[in-house]
Symmetry: C2
Subunit: 197 residues, 2 copies
């Protein structure tokens, strides 16, 4: 999506170690006009899917998912990160390994909010190694829900997550795929996606 | 706000120990149509304030704040909960005591995103003891920003947070104020607010 690629090129900051900081508009300060454009594009791309609910994970996926949900007319459920598997009532849970924070945590979703009749779109801000999305997919399997696809704002195309999901037959629509970054020049290379606006 | 009070009365669940569960529409599963109505009401109530940014705190404040922001035409910044005061670059930080989770954690906001020129509306889903909001106010003071007011979805009027903030001269607009709950009957009593829709 040109609008997002241009914004990343303008306001993203490339740091050593393949770190891309987009905290001025995506995951700390949030530009809700941009989020609206992302939501509209996902609604166009997934128009043929009978999506009735969006699933995301706290924290930075929530804002994007909520604004995107307005374009689908469906509610959002967010998976909660949890030290312990507590909560009252029954929950689905999965373990996720965070490479950024070097730890493993549980994510949980109340069984009240996802079930076999649900057709789910997973939305998240970033896709790198894919651990968060794989955890959410595990939860959907436990729930017996149908995964319609995965909408990602920024995919790091040189890490394994996107390829792994696509190899599983999952439809992944990443609105910007970064294929390379150069911390010395700040240059970011995007993968061409002809079917996107 | 009648719409929110009716929704709490219908779908909220009262539990022993003054616990009000609104996770089916507010802070686990999220009804974005309802969030839109909340955002519109805050925009009406704070129409006389020169708000240029909304500040919230992860996780459950983010969805409400992002959708509300569309009615103000401003970006959102969310404070991050952090075990350690790390992050690269300079951050404002405050300590917050969580009664629900019985622990103290740091919240941080990058100094890049709040400064002396900002006129801030704080948005959050719940107000009980007020610790989260007081932490955000501390961050605004560090930043030299102006606090225009606080928008809360559900205030527990029988806990001290709301009164404490109002006694400090802060404008707090809680769209539903719960003055009492009865776990045996499920009955919830709301404080009348004639100036709200």
């Amino acid at each position: 999506m040109k609008l997002l690629e241009e914004r990343i090129a303008r306001d993203g900051v490339v740091k050593e170690g393949n770190v891309l900081k987009v905290d001025s508009f995506l995951n700390h300060q949030m530009d809700t006009d941009l989020f609206n454009a992302l939501g509209k594009e996902w609604a166009r791309l997934f128009a043929d899917c009978p999506i009735n609910k969006i699933l995301t994970i706290e924290a930075s996926g929530i804002g994007i998912a909520c604004i995107a949900a307005q374009h689908f007319g469906v509610p959002v459920v967010f998976a909660k990160k949890s030290q312990s598997i507590n909560l009252d009532g029954d929950v689905y849970s999965a373990k996720i390994e965070s490479f950024t924070h070097k730890k493993i945590y549980n994510v949980i979703v109340s069984q009240k909010f996802i079930g076999p009749d649900d057709h789910i779109l997973i939305i998240d801000d970033f896709l790198a190694n894919g651990c968060a999305v794989l955890g959410l997919i595990e939860i959907l399997k436990e729930a017996g829900a149908t995964l319609e696809g995965v909408g990602i704002a920024v995919e790091k195309g040189f890490q394994k997550g996107g390829q792994e999901l696509r190899d599983m037959g999952i439809r992944v629509e990443s609105l910007a795929i970064v294929d390379g970054m150069d911390a010395s020049t700040g240059k970011i290379t995007f993968r061409p996606q002809p079917s996107h606006t």
